[in-house]
């Protein structure tokens, strides 16, 4: 956890510095009142201060040696989930939202441990149909169509 906290606090520290520096480019005060840069400036300051305190804490003895929160498997799982979502967004332009979503549902079902192909195929085909009736028909949402016409 100590290493993960250290990396996280460095990332938020960098974000804080970025927010602070860019806030200086916005107006801090406008007609003697807080301008558009006021809240970002103080958000940046607070982010830097809190990140530094958390970072400093990782160097003390109290930080402890609890195991890191990200196992290799969890990183792989997250990367695969992200990849699936990116592919779905890309495929929406070609296949339409519902078909792409069906494929993603099938992918997630397998990724997260469904062993039965029959169950996977059933959920991947049936769910988009149900969602079409719920969102497309009942709620009147205009769902992007693909080359297949739905």
């Amino acid at each position: 956890m100590r290493r993960a906290d250290r990396i996280m606090s460095i990332l938020t520290l960098l974000l804080g510095i970025y927010v602070l520096v860019t806030a200086l480019g916005l107006q801090y005060r406008l007609d003697d009142l807080p301008g558009p840069g006021f809240v970002p400036f103080w958000s940046g300051v607070a982010m830097i201060a809190l990140s530094l305190i958390i970072l400093a804490g990782t160097f003390t003895r109290r930080a402890g040696g609890s195991p890191g929160p990200f196992s290799r498997e969890s990183v792989r799982n997250m990367a695969a989930s992200l990849g699936g979502c990116v592919a779905m967004v890309g495929l929406t332009r070609i296949l339409g939202f519902l078909v792409a979503l069906g494929l993603l549902v099938g992918f997630f079902a397998r990724l997260w441990g469904t062993r039965s192909w029959a169950a996977t195929i059933l959920i991947a085909t049936l769910l988009p149909v149900i969602l079409y009736f719920l969102f497309g028909m009942a709620l009147g949402v205009s769902i992007p169509k693909g080359v297949l016409g739905f």
């Binding site: 107006q27 558009p36 958000s43 982010m47 809190l50 305190i53 799982n77 993603l104 997260w112 969102f135």
Partner: protein, 503 residues
């Protein structure tokens, strides 16, 4: 008298068939979502929000309120039957609920949990009905400094009290505050942190953020934990007759339901605290005031009754600051505020004057919703249990698809889907790092209001920040807000000093 006639109007609005349908759908959907481990009321409201599109605001909010208390109860089903709390507010229910199930009294625990939730919820709606309009009248005298101080109080207490590490809570709140400034500045029209993306000119949509942080993140986290399905519930536990607690059960639980209700309502009103803390405190009180404290943790029915009454009471209590002051005090009510704004309704004291049919319709629906909750919980528990027996990977995939299409339908925008996935990954990392997401969402919801009330306050005072400390109400609120920051800092320093002394 005026209250009663308003209630009658409210009940007639709530009893409208379409509103009845919405509250029923809300309670059922909330119970199912609430029963899924990891997904609590805030995730339930965010995920199911798209179902309210295109309906009248009153029907929409009635459904969301139904989801809220349905999810609050749903969490206890898995707590009792399989020792897996649906959300943090039902953790205490596992302590005695699961041992009861092991001893063959799972049905009575489920029944008591439903009755305690019903009693707690109903008593609080009565109190709410009298308290809220009075508080709204007081709040009418609030100016921008009071609102600024109130929002600062809400943010600091939530950030300091949620999660194990207050520093991480404050960091999440500050990041949320930063995200709230993304978009066009309301005064100058200048784009801030939009990176030239037109889609960000309107700001970061907090419903999208909530769907990612509460919905997708939870699914990703539970997906890697629950590879197998472990729901094995003996059918005999779910026979209708077994769901009714005995007279002896009632005798030992009645007092604990009442104090759980009082504690829950009071804590629910306070910003930041909420249902989880209410259930912890009421369990503690129940144990310390019981004649048989040694039975707690081994299947004492009052150990189920007290926290269940408290968490439902807290969910009603949390509606008080949202509706009367327009300042949500918890993650769930923050998402509800987002929904109200989406319906073009600005929660706050004026809501009671300008939209009485809306407010009283909601109050009326709370009565009906609580009755619905008890009927459904007694009739449909076997059905919910069967739904939970669907393998988790399939359930997770279905909920994920619902979230993605729901996000798209907010603005018919793929950009929102991308944003929800982004927030999902951020939320997943935050969860792993034990950084609470609730302060981030609350800051995102309140950020713009906070900035506006700051500007308005300083216009009133010709630029002097002393205005926050010279008006009695804002000064008191600011003092508590500062204490909420100072207390964790003091505790941290004291801990450090002790560690040094023992080293």
């Amino acid at each position: 008298m005026e209250t009663l006639s308003n209630l009658l109007v409210g009940l007639s609005v709530a009893a409208d068939p379409i509103n009845l349908l919405y509250v029923t759908v809300g309670v059922i959907a909330g119970m199912i979502i609430g029963a899924l481990p990891g997904l609590g009321p805030s995730a339930g409201i965010a995920i199911l929000l798209p179902l309210t599109f295109g309906v009248q605001p009153v029907a929409g909010i009635i459904m969301l309120a139904g989801i809220y208390y349905g999810a609050m109860y749903g969490g206890s089903i898995t707590s009792i039957l399989i020792n897996v709390p649906g959300d943090s507010a039902s953790v205490m229910t596992t302590l005695d609920g699961y041992p009861m199930a092991l001893a063959g009294r799972g049905g009575a625990a489920l029944g008591m949990s439903a009755f305690a939730s019903f009693i707690g919820g109903t008593i609080c709606v009565v109190v709410f009905m009298y308290l809220a309009p009075a508080l709204a009248k007081v709040a009418l005298s609030f100016g921008p400094p009071e609102y600024f101080a109130l929002m600062a109080l809400g943010l600091t207490t939530l950030a300091g009290m949620t999660g194990k590490y207050p520093l991480k809570g404050f960091l999440a709140a500050v990041v949320g505050l930063f995200l709230s400034v993304v978009g066009l500045d309301l005064v100058t029209g200048l784009p801030r942190y939009t990176f030239g993306w037109r889609q960000l000119f309107g700001g970061v949509d907090f419903i999208t953020a909530a769907m990612g942080l509460f919905g997708i993140a939870e699914i990703l986290a539970t997906a890697e934990e629950a590879q197998t399905n472990t729901f094995v519930v003996p059918k005999s536990e779910l026979r209708w007759r077994k769901l009714f607690p005995t007279l002896k059960d009632w005798a030992v639980s009645a007092w604990h339901i009442l104090h759980g209700t009082a504690v829950g309502f009071f804590i629910g009103i306070l910003p930041g605290a909420g249902a989880t803390i209410a259930s912890f405190i009421s369990y503690g009180i129940a144990k310390s005031t019981s004649r048989h404290p040694e039975k707690f943790g081994k299947g004492a029915i009052e150990g189920v009754a007290a926290p269940e009454a408290a968490n439902n009471a807290a969910s009603v209590g949390a509606m008080v600051p949202l509706l009367t002051l327009g300042v949500p005090g918890s993650a769930s009510t923050a998402v509800m505020m987002g929904a109200l704004l989406m319906f073009n309704l600005r929660p706050g004291p004026l809501l009671f004057e300008r939209n009485p049919e809306f407010v009283w319709g909601l109050i009326g629906s709370m009565y009906i919703g609580n009755v619905m909750l008890i009927v459904l919980s007694l009739v449909a528990i076997p059905v919910f249990v069967r739904i939970l027996q669907v393998p988790r990977p399939l359930l997770n995939s279905v909920v994920m698809a619902f979230i993605l299409l729901g996000t798209y339908s907010l603005n018919n925008s793929m950009f929102d889907v991308v944003m929800a996935v982004f927030f999902g990954l951020v939320g997943y990392a935050m969860k792993k790092m034990e950084i609470p997401a609730a302060p981030l969402v609350l800051a995102l919801v309140l950020g713009n209001l906070l900035e506006n009330s700051l500007r308005q306050s300083l216009i009133l005072s010709n630029g002097s920040p002393a205005i926050f400390f010279t008006r009695p109400i804002s000064a008191s609120l600011m003092a508590v807000a500062l204490a909420a920051v100072a207390w964790p800092a003091f505790k941290g320093l004291r801990g450090l000093a002790r560690a040094r002394a023992t080293a």
